[in-house]
Symmetry: C2
Subunit: 337 residues, 2 copies
DNA sequence: TTGTATAATGCAAGCGCTTACATTACGCTG
DNA sequence: CAGCGTAATGTAAGCGCTTGCATTATACAA
């Protein structure tokens, strides 16, 4: 069968000491005579010993591990924020375990259970909307959770993020301010996605303010992906009274729209303005460059990590943090024809 | 202090059965009377019980978890391949734990130890080059590892990936075949990156074949990033005899180059051809569209998962798989001026 | 009713580790 | 060199779970 991997006991026997000594050697090196320490350490290397994490966690009741569940790793904005999150955690001696839910409600529930079972000391979650059973479960397990990628002043749970609604509203004001009246939006699927919903609401807020009828908004929902943005653009533009400005739920969709516009011989921003959201690097390589809402993804990941670490270390309460977004007005936005 | 989260014992007591019964209830539901099962399950929900993974792993010696260490999550190609890897694992009842090494050798060692300690049944690693101590360690721990993102016929360890060298050579042949003689390359940092090294070698192979002196190649190394591609392009083009074709280590660098070209008023491909590698979605939204080497990232992730799962389940040996790449000749490549 | 085969359940060991407490070794002082 | 204080090390319990084996309940036949 599988040759057992070396255990504390193996090391102890080989080094001629007790398991307690080996354990101390590893965890509190100065509690042990230099001579013994050397011998033990040598044995550790020789045997290729690695402490069994589960066993340790079982007795210490701590894993120094934080779990994160993101919808998908394929979306660059999650990847970027998470990378920053991990870096900050690492700086404080914490580890990160990532799982992805593929935007599926049940899968998220399963991932939460899995991460908790694996001993996550805390959880990072994206957005406020999820299976409600998750919260009582986390409470019973006494695992704190922090919501990110959104900041909702009305939400009861703490979150570190930005206000999707006001961010989009500000952008929409600007666009409307430059004369646009016929608006459309290519949104990410709205169901169970409060970030997408917030962005849509923000746009409608601005329309209302400007005396436009929000129900006149041409709305189409498309999953994340360049190709989908292209398809949606074609749909929207192929109408009797096509919009003069198209808001996109994220930059990836916007880039797809931009591409299709070029393919169709529609000039941006002369014929139509296109607006993104996120300000990923990509938005600066398109031609024309994309007008978009800048979101401090890395900063968000970093701050989320700090909040969690503070809580875990000195019991500091988990606080909400609202991060500012700002508008990046670039060439894809112009006055309507 | 921290209120203990519920244990098997708590559930057992509350449901009036033994821990063994609860355990069976969870793992082999049909080994238990429907009546008891119901009662136990209700208690489980009521208490918000989640089995302690570490404890379970300790006794079963199996975690059904596979660890993956990637250089960074911020690179879309890793994210994409990994997502596919995870999906395939999930289909076979395995979980994924991801860690990122930030391209740092020591960090990778630490992550390997960490994942092994956490009970990873197997490991997915990127590329062949790493701290050599990792391999004996994995052997002693009896944790199989699979290398991906590259396939090197000369390597002793199994890998699932593609041959970076021949892929780039084929592309270079094509480019040289269309008349280019003055070549340059914007490579990812070569140190400890066999994929990058392979691509460079492939380019040199083709030069040699064509009677060009490989040492005449203008080479510059830049980390992953659009901005870096732009900077590198400016450097290369600003020479006495600028290259007529610029190979890039990946699409992201290429896109940066493309952008800078436009900014500098240099027309692609009339003034200079630009070639990428990876064929990420992005390469089709640039203008002109990017000529690049298509890599089946998702397929690679999927196959890697299958190899590992087969090995873990029926002891099937870990085999190497070479995946084919192909050329996507698009508008960014043209004949030299 | 009793006996028996079988299904359901319980008991208890042990997975690899940490740590409180007990024991031993060491270095001094008087 | 005895006696003591302190540092180093050892002993053993127990973290939460699974599982082989022992025990008890159940169903059915005689």
């Amino acid at each position: 069968m599988k040759p057992q991997s070396p255990t504390l006991f193996d090391v102890a026997r080989r080094a001629g000491v007790s398991t307690a000594t080996v354990s101390r050697c590893l965890n509190f090196p100065d509690k042990v005579t230099p001579k013994t320490r050397e011998r033990v350490m040598a044995t550790v290397t020789e045997l290729g010993y690695a402490p069994n994490f589960g066993a340790r966690a079982m007795v210490t009741q701590r894993t120094n591990t934080i779990g994160a569940i993101i919808p998908t790793m394929e979306n660059a904005i999650f990847a970027r924020g998470l990378q920053a999150f991990q870096e900050e955690l690492g700086a404080h001696g914490f580890n990160l375990m990532v799982a992805s839910s593929s935007y599926q409600r049940e899968l998220e529930v399963a991932q939460v259970r899995s991460l908790v079972a694996r001993g996550a000391d805390a959880l990072l979650l994206i957005g406020h909307i999820r299976d409600p059973q998750i919260y009582p479960f986390l409470e019973k397990q006494d695992v704190p959770a922090l919501v990110t990628w959104t900041y909702d002043p009305d939400a009861t749970r703490p979150s570190v993020g930005f206000n999707n609604r006001t961010a989009m509203r500000d952008m929409a004001r600007k666009v409307i301010g430059s004369g646009h009246r016929h608006l459309a939006m290519i949104s990410a699927p709205l169901a169970r996605n409060d970030r997408a919903q917030g962005r849509l609401l923000g746009l409608k807020d601005a329309m209302e303010e400007a005396g436009l009828n929000p129900s006149k908004l041409h709305l189409t929902e498309k999953p994340y992906g360049i190709e989908n943005g292209a398809t949606a653009f074609a749909e929207l533009i192929d109408q009797d009274r096509p919009p003069t400005a198209i808001f996109c739920g994220n930059d990836v969709l916007a880039v797809g729209a931009l591409r299709r516009a070029r393919e169709m011989g529609i000039e941006v921003p002369r014929d139509v303005s296109i607006i993104g959201f996120d300000d990923i690097e990509l938005s600066q390589v398109t031609h024309p460059m994309l007008t978009t809402v800048h979101v401090p993804h890395r900063e968000m990941g970093k701050q989320a990590a700090q909040v969690l670490v503070r809580h875990l270390i000195d019991g500091h309460p988990i606080e909400s943090i609202a991060l500012a977004t700002d508008l990046r007005l670039r060439a894809s936005l112009g006055p309507p024809r």
